[in-house]
Structures are given as structure tokens and as C-alpha cells.
Subunit: 241 residues, 2 copies
Amino acid sequence: MYTSMQTNLKPLDRRQNTASQAYAQLRAWIISGELRPGQVISEPKMAMTFGVSRTPIREVFKRLQDEKLLDIFPQQGTVVSPIDIALVRSNQFIRETLELRTIALTATHAGPQDIAGLHAQIQAQKQLVEAGDHRRFFAADDHFHETLISIAGQPTVWKTIEDAKAQIDRVRHLSLEDPDWLRRIFTEHLAITDAIAHHDTTEAVAAMQAHLHTVFAAIDKIAQAHPHFLKKDQRTEAPAF
Amino acid sequence: MYTSMQTNLKPLDRRQNTASQAYAQLRAWIISGELRPGQVISEPKMAMTFGVSRTPIREVFKRLQDEKLLDIFPQQGTVVSPIDIALVRSNQFIRETLELRTIALTATHAGPQDIAGLHAQIQAQKQLVEAGDHRRFFAADDHFHETLISIAGQPTVWKTIEDAKAQIDRVRHLSLEDPDWLRRIFTEHLAITDAIAHHDTTEAVAAMQAHLHTVFAAIDKIAQAHPHFLKKDQRTEAPAF
DNA sequence: AGAGGTTTACTTGTATACAAGTATGCAAAC
DNA sequence: GTTTGCATACTTGTATACAAGTAAACCTCT
């Protein structure tokens, strides 16, 4: 590598390194709400928790800061980011904008195999709903949306949506969605799939928009039930004289 | 910080730390093409260049890896990411999708003050075009687009577009745009502003779409003039038998 | 001359030590 | 009682040392 260049590099990351594992774990804890908004954490303590040194943990903290999941205050400490409702709404706008355009393409481009694949996913989701398996249904939900975007011919757009989704999913988890949330989401997925199967672009877009808007209920819920999870200047905003 | 929590944190980063400065510099070098796609770099050498240790440089490398501007191969080395045309097109799709929706909102929401502000920017751009100041016109271009998005009521969406733009701008710079590029961009900005001033949503969207599509010429240009800057599997793809 | 094993230099990943800064708590002075 | 100053413990930022792995170069043997 240090004499010639681009000879035969191996892009293989066969073994996940320490930092990657810690990142996945810590990110999941934040999004799921196990680490609550406002909670103070530190590099040394987290390093102890994972049984590693500060170095890989520090990398993780920086990444999570970029994702606005951690707020690092130099020489002071690090806290799990409070919920920034303005940011959540902005990310929701981004997700909605991208998914509404792609779903229209999906309704147009979807071939028989694609539609069959979606129906198979719907069946799998149905079983998860009946089993009440929230965790796996959540993963199936992601897979469903990723598939729709892939059918639209823009597979890598999912990465951007995944980033935007982090803030949104945090609100969903913290708002403790009601028990029949699974069934409602499933019904909406069914409507989207039906519209695509009939190549009804207008209906597909409408169904997707309705589907994505369910998050606003969660936002209202958390704003009322857990105001201390919100960013300070949002809950202490004095009336502007 | 370590006993009580969220008392009076200072979000102030008055002095940029070493890592932030190195990040801005290195990112600019990559996007501007001073560091060319495929070029091999290493943490110790770059640390020497900046006169710091590996630690802050390592942070920078990780961030740039997340942005897909660097490819880090463990125990082998780090290269400036080759141009991934599929990624460029995907990012272009993302930018276009977001800016086409926001420009429609801009045309609707723009008030007299907003329109006056845009006209002022147009005047400033005109002077930069006549002066042939590419660097400052480029900054003015960013400011113009950010303003349009802000008028639409989605100011933070610009951050996402800024991320997507990195790959796109790299292609623009490397394709060595022709001298009257400034004038053409300026003319397109003028058309967008006029449409907004007349609250002509349809025309505003059309003008923005035309404006954003100029990058495709740059993609074709770089694919022909500098194929060695492209990702390997894109330029060596053998005909599929 | 050519093939194969070894050495060597370089790479990133991780651990540790030190530096600089901040907030808490206590003690002393008023 | 209040305030001021300081010691202390904790925080993140940076520097350095070591570990693990890769690849080119070289040296030896055939």
C-alpha cells in the first residue's frame, strides 16, 4: 500500500472491530429509549461498561454526535440528546419527501416479481402482528420500506432515510405506542401494497402519506407525557414580549 | 456535571479545536480536488502535515469515511474515495427531490421581504460573475439555495442537502467547468427568483429542476476525461455474457 | 534465472498517560 | 448568614506507546 496504489485492496471487514460493535449497541440503546434523553454519560464509564479503552468509545461518541443523538460539551460531559421537536419534524419532512417521490416510482416500476415479494412480506408481517412481536415487526417495517425504495430504483436513498429515522424512531419508542399499533401499521402497509399492485400511483402516494403521518400523534403524546425529555428552549420558552 | 444534571451547560464552542480545523481543511481539499480520487493518505503523515498527533486526525478520517469521502482499509491504508457515479446520482436524486418540494413551498410562502432579499443576492451574484470570482460565487450559490429552503420553512433541511452535495460538488470541481459556467448558473438563479417573485410555483419548480440538472453534464465529462477517478467496478465492468 | 520463505517497513486498531478546563464541596473570612 | 477562595474530582482533548496485520522487497535455495 505504501509504495504502489490501488493494486488489490480488500474492502472486506470480516470481523467487526470493537468500535463498530459498541456503536451499534449504544445507538440502539439511545433510539430504544433505554438511555433516556438528558441522561449524563462519560467516555471512561462507558469504556468500563464495554470492557474496552476510551479510544473506540470516543469514536462512537463522535459518530453519535454527528447523528445528533449525543451532545458533547468539552471539559464538561456528554448527555443523550434531549428530543428536539423541530429536528424531528424536519427529519419527518425529509423522510416524507423522499418516500412520497419514491413510492410513486415504485407504483409505476413494480413488476410481478416485486409485487409477489411485497405480498410475501405482508404475510410475514401478519404473523408477527398476531404473535405480538414488536421487535421483529419493527425490523420487518424497515425492510418493507427499504424494499419499496429499492423497487423505485433508488436503493441507496434508504441510507439517508435511515439517518433521518433515528430521531423519529426515538420519539416513537419513548411515546410508548398503544398495543394495537402493530395492527394499524400492518393495515397501512396492506393499503400501500394494494395500491402498488394496481399501479395506482395516486392512491399509493396517499396511503404512504397517511402511513408516515402517524408519527405526529407520537410527537404530541411525548410532548404532553414527558416534557422533561424535550430540549430546554422548547419547554421553557418564555412568552416573547 | 458529574453529580447533578442539566443545570447550566454551555453549548459554546468558542475556540475550534484541532480536529475541527483539520476536518474543514481536509474536507475542502477532497471536494475541491486538491486531494484527488484514489490518492493514498495515512494518519501519521497527515498528522505531520497539520503538526498534530494521530488522535485528532483519526477522528477526521472517521468522519470523512462516514461521508464517503475516504475509504479506510484496516491495516492497509486509506485512500480518497474514487468517484462512485451511482452514489453521485443517488445524492443528486435526494437533493433534487428535497429542493423541488421546498422550492414549491418557497414560491407560495415568499413574502415581500424574502423576495427583496433574493433580489439583493442576485445583485451580489452579478458582481461576482463580472469579477469572475469562482470561489466566492460558489459560496453565494450555497447561500442562495439555503435561503430558498429557509423561506420554505424548512431551514434544517439544508444540512442534509449539504451532506448530499459533497459528492456532487466533487464531480463539478473535477470536471473543470467551462469559463461561462458562472454566467449560466447566474441566469438560472435569475429565472428561479423571477418565478418566485411572481409566485409561479410551476415555473419555479421547472426552473429549479433545469438548474439542478446541469450536474449531469459534469458527470458525463468526468467519465470521459478522467475515467481513472471512477470507482473500479464502474470502469472495469466486463461485458456481462 | 526463477520460486519461495523471511525480513522489514508501513498501515490502522487499541490502550494508556498527560494536559486543560469545569463544577462541586468545603473552609475560611467578612 | 453570605461570600470568597481553593482543593478536589471529574470531564473531554491530545499525545504517545504498543498490538495486529499487510505488502513490498530481499535473500536464499534450487
